[in-house]
Symmetry: C2
Subunit: 333 residues, 2 copies
DNA sequence: GAAATTTTTGCAACCGGTTGCAAACGGGTG
DNA sequence: CACCCGTTTGCAACCGGTTGCAAAAATTTC
């Protein structure tokens, strides 16, 4: 079917090695030879078989892009950034959907079978064992949007979710509220756990402010809406830190549909600052997570690891910032 | 690094062929042999190299998943369905982001280099030349969400966008409006062109109803909002068919922010019925596109083509249906 | 229990490339 | 022109598997 090296060699009247060399840069070929080979290759429409060469070189330029987050629109932005960034560096993303996959075994095996050069785990909800499983299989791993444990086992790029929780708490405190609350995503997600910890630790410094918390069962609109509707049946807090923008939008819809004003009766601050948060119809006050920078940095780290697989693991933590919009009353003073 | 067939063979004290055979189903191996080999393989942690075997079998189980639509949240649903569907059949999606790519050459070459078994082009905006370019390269192609031309060149799975335009027109007519309009996405997208054609052809049967049209420059919130704000400066139509849900949500936000009521002063009907359309905060009347069925069918078609590459091209067209929600006044009568 | 038949196994060539090594080449010196 | 040295080229082995073929083993038949 496809044109092979051998055919090109025959047509150009040279050895197979010569053809191979003209297509690997850094190899020694004379100008004359190169011209002959390129002509023959062009005539035949030859392009080298990347998989065959990977057999000897040990590199496939395939990168496993593993995620379990196919429902939160922010991940479309993430996939866009990852695919383009990888492509620009000549790497090919092999997408793995881990939704409903409770253990990493299968994916590890599959990615090993395809000899990926590295794996990017892009998820804030997957337990750290997943990333570790890939590392244990001897594959370079970057965990984007992951948790940076003290005893770092794999490279992590993301934000400090504990600090995120604190930051949200400080924002709510700065509004002068007397009752604030944490409305997290599923409490199995590491990001939720950390934000909860941060939120609570900051609030511990303000014992006079009543602080409550609860968890929605997913990072989704309906989970947020449902949980907020439930909360509104009793005495709700004056403002909520929701663990995610989509969740927040659901919560806001619950507040408004209950005949309450969103910033005035019940405030909401989200997390992520996805594109949709900016839409005038949502106008969500939220904490900005620099996803572009996180993705870019993850890719750079991945590229570096391809040359230096045993690189000492590092955590790259990016700063967060509050984006003030219309779902939280202004700071006092 | 990785364990090879040869090592397993040595440890089990058998030939390499024997090992190969126990890992290819349908091959002849005795139960005793199988046990020996599997034991050795397990001890060594062996798993066969899919790329090496592809060299002789000519199959990689790699499927190029090509798209240029990384900004419309509905495509996250599409990617979710595709990746899971392909995985379930033992196929691996190699994701290609065609954003900003004006010609197919590079991607065709790249996918050929990786010897993909097939290509799924998932886009309603890419010109048909892209799909054709892959077919010309001798790779099985399915164009999902594509246009089904009369002279079909590649397999297409999707909806009839001309009919979609007609259906929207009929809905607006049924409301008794005297001025309706088409607000399309970019007029370079084939889906927009077809919906425009259908809309106009249906309205031609109602000469007493004023019909106008315009195009937003993307399938995006801001494009929709911007265009609608512009339209509202003059005499707007009583109801608009917007070429996409995200566009619609932008248009609705423009209407409401201008102090007008959305169903009563200016109505909107969208297209796609993405998850977000259902959210109470949007409550968008729209035309449902059965993406789950389209994706499933695309995958089935792809699988069929792997066995029969020269299959005669077919178009699989799925029916649309109107989902009535809150952005269009009720039908009269 | 021998012959005929079927199943299992190993050999060796092959898939499409890469690469270490040594031979061939080219050009500069003396 | 012989000699030397740096480049360029081809040979052949190898990467990790698969597979047609024939020999070996197991099973069936009489």
């Amino acid at each position: 079917m496809a044109v092979t090296l051998k055919e090109v060699a025959e047509r150009a009247g040279v050895s197979r090695s010569a053809v191979s060399r003209t297509f690997t840069d850094g190899a020694s070929v004379s100008a004359k030879m190169r011209r002959k080979v390129e002509k023959a290759a062009r005539d035949l429409g030859y392009s080298p078989n990347a998989l065959a060469s990977s057999l000897t070189t040990g590199r496939t330029k395939l990168i496993g892009l593993v995620s379990d987050n196919f429902h939160n629109p922010i991940f479309l932005e993430v996939f866009d950034l990852f695919t383009r960034g990888l492509q620009d560096r000549g790497l090919r993303p092999l997408l793995v959907n881990l939704t409903e996959e409770k253990n990493p075994e299968n994916s590890v095996r599959m990615l090993k079978q395809y000899s990926v050069d590295g794996v990017v785990v892009a998820s804030s909800t997957l337990p750290t064992e997943f990333a570790r499983a890939f590392r244990d299989a001897g594959v370079p791993v970057v965990h984007s949007f992951g948790r940076s444990a003290a005893a770092l086992q794999v490279h992590v790029v993301g934000v400090d979710n504990v600090e995120c929780g604190r930051m949200a708490a400080r924002e709510l405190v700065a509004r002068g509220h007397t009752h604030v609350a944490f409305l997290g995503g599923p409490d199995t997600a590491t990001s939720t756990q950390d934000r909860y910890t941060g939120f609570m630790s900051e609030m511990a410094a303000h014992p006079k402010i009543k602080t409550t918390y609860s968890f929605a069962d997913a990072y989704s609109f309906y989970a947020g809406r449902r949980e907020m509707l439930r909360l509104l049946k009793n005495t709700p807090a004056q403002a909520y830190f929701c663990g995610d923008d989509v969740l927040s939008i659901g919560a806001v819809s619950a507040i408004r549909d209950s005949g309450l004003s969103c910033p005035n009766d019940v405030g909401v601050i989200g997390m992520n600052d996805m594109e949709m948060a900016r839409w005038e119809s949502n106008d969500l006050t939220t904490i900005h997570q620099p996803i572009r920078e996180i993705v870019t940095s993850s890719i750079e780290l991945m590229v570096a690891m391809l040359d230096e697989p045993d690189r000492y693991p590092e955590a790259r933590i990016f700063p967060l910032s509050v984006v003030e919009r219309g779902t939280l009353i202004p700071r006092i003073k």
